[in-house]
Symmetry: C2
Subunit: 391 residues, 2 copies
């Protein structure tokens, strides 16, 4: 793979946020990194080394089986796939259908896939026993929400001994795009100079259907607003306006486990933008840091623009409003958000007819959780389905 070098890097305490890097070539020869004036070449063998240490988490919620199967078939065989499902389990047990599909895929593909259902009682029991009850509601069941599913997946990736964890949405129509995301994760981690790194995907285009034909729009409206306020948050400290953040709502992203386990999270659609906010909170040098090592090593955020457009299921206006509300509320509720910016955010939300969610929970990091014990408990309670030939 060949990537542009970032033209600009914003520094904020120990945090480095690299500006967008475009993919120049999806797949290129060459052993040994060549860095030229503006492009770097990442050898395939290096990307594959990372893939062997990476788990890919696919949060699933009632997506069509054929689409999920396409996503799975595009993920390189070295990656452990962790499917965290929150699909309906009524008379038609969709999770059973998903497992059947996975079992058939694994039979032919001979690779490792783990599948777990978010609402399984064994999962909540295991969470209580390892002392991480923050994902449970008042009835002791895991809450609905993609964020909760993502955290279950990250804990399993850690338990599997993986060093990297990447997320791929289950509703992607283009297996080739999924394949590109995973290659990008590998390439960026190989470029990273810190064990605390994050890669966020920026889509080249997000095609829409306009008057019966395809129109390739560059930015979603929600993303544009979220990015603007994340950039304002940065500017409020550096004193310089910036446009560096371009992936505030990026569902497709990846982290080193060492970074993932020390971040705090927000529920629902706030999870992706809040990751950036929390990185600024913890490592931006504004408040006293909790961890020394990442302060010294630095925390790196890569933003990579794909070659592939992003075709996914359209989820409608309410979904967009929810995303916007969650994202802006997460910025507003941050301890490092200045009063003036809070006011601006409030006005923005009002303009959209939205109320800030100012009492949203924060899900604390899982650094203290014994992930291997968590996995052992899941196995004991029959709450995890392990397909394929390695554990």
């Amino acid at each position: 793979m060949k990537l542009e070098l970032p033209r600009h890097t914003e520094r904020f305490g120990s945090v480095r946020i690299h500006d967008i890097q475009r993919v120049v070539l999806l797949d290129s020869a060459g052993e040994g990194i060549e860095v030229e004036a503006s492009v770097c070449s990442i050898p395939r063998s290096k990307i594959q080394e990372i893939e062997r240490k990476m788990a890919i988490i696919i949060p699933v919620k009632d997506e069509r089986l054929k689409v999920i199967e396409g996503v799975i078939s595009a993920i390189p065989s070295e990656c452990l796939i962790i499917v965290v499902s929150n699909s309906k389990r009524g008379k038609v047990d969709r999770f059973k259908m998903e497992r059947d599909m996975i079992e058939q895929h694994v039979h032919y593909a001979r690779r490792a896939i783990w599948a777990i259902h978010q609402k399984d009682h064994g999962v909540s029991k295991a969470f209580k026993e390892v002392g991480y009850p923050e994902l449970l509601d008042d009835n002791g069941v895991i809450r609905d929400g993609k964020a909760e599913g993502m955290i279950i997946g990250m804990l399993l990736a850690k338990a599997a001994g993986k060093e990297y964890v990447g997320f791929i949405d289950a509703d992607n129509y283009i297996p080739g795009a999924v394949h590109e995301y995973v290659k990008i994760y590998g390439a960026a981690f190989h470029l990273s100079q810190s064990p605390y790194a994050m890669v966020r995907i920026s889509w080249a285009y997000k095609p829409k259907i306009l008057e019966g034909s395809l129109y390739f729009s560059k930015w979603g409206r929600v993303s544009a607003v979220t990015n603007r306020y994340l950039n304002k948050l940065i500017a409020s400290f550096t004193g310089f306006e910036t446009e560096v953040v371009k992936t505030g709502n990026s569902g497709e992203h990846a982290m080193t486990i060492r970074l993932a386990e020390i971040l705090d999270y927000k529920p629902r659609f706030a999870i992706e933008p809040y990751e950036i906010v929390n990185i600024l909170e913890q490592f931006g040098g504004i408040v006293e840091p909790k961890y020394d090592e990442p302060m010294e090593a630095g925390v790196e955020i890569f933003q990579i623009e794909t070659r592939n457009p992003h075709f996914h299921e359209e989820k409608g206006d309410q979904h967009l409003k929810d995303m916007l509300c969650d994202a802006l509320s997460a910025i507003m509720s941050s301890s490092i958000c200045p009063e003036s910016l809070k006011k601006e955010l409030q006005i923005e939300l009002l303009k959209e007819g939205l109320q800030p969610r100012d009492n949203d929970r924060t899900i604390p990091s899982f650094a203290h959780v014994d992930a291997k014990l968590f996995l052992d408990l899941l196995v004991e309670y029959n709450a995890i389905h392990m397909f394929g030939y390695k554990r």
Copy 2:
């Protein structure tokens, strides 16, 4: 890459046509081919070995630059890319724009791309001098048509010393799909047991816009009809009905140069279906063969179904009618087409309000052409643009 094994192979003289093989995994580890009961695994290194010996030809005709650039960026860097353009060259010289785009891409990507314009006087001059005037019209200029462009590309691939040649259409919106096509070419050639092999792509789905949303249809109507009659042609000799041919109109296909140079071609949209007809004519054992070696080694046709759907520019009803007319006329005009099938084809064409093109030219094979001399002449006449670092 992991591919299903073909469940069925149709034999016809020295020709073997394998039934559809689905892609199980886009990208998989594993050194050494493992063949299991129903799946074979092709190591990445073996695919890359083929790519180094492969030229990818992109016939271009006024497609949007951004789309062409996406296609180019998805082709592995080892492949020589040959862009054969027939774009407009008026006040706005689109071929100049295409070259500019290629030059910029090559500057960053450091790979080899050749570009040539079909209507360049140097090209027709070179054709006359190497004794292959069949592509020229009465005024001595190369005819319009994708077939002519494809043949120019194949000659250049041969001149470059390549062993394989693959075609990719320039109007593909999904770079990830293009990448899959090239990997499929490499994987299938590696599986082939003959130096006379062809790989044809079958699309998983061809999405259409229906009432404002995407509908994933399996077969184009034209393909269904073309395939039906190609299968009838086979059945008329074997005496057994068959459905083995599923890629009659496949624009995305690849051949070994040794096969490509001994085939005769038909102009326009007949080129793809006629390749199959001509293979049956030459190597089906019905008429006296012209070449002994492929009769002994066998000629293999692979048909591989992609994981990616195929999103391309919609070209309208007239385009579909032309495709159908060209394809059915090519089958009808074959020396091995029995009278009864000719009648059926005539009725089918009439039903569609079409007239058979019964006096279509055949473009003879280029086995006798001195490809290196052809290239030398193009260089001398400044009719070829070579970008990148190797010739």
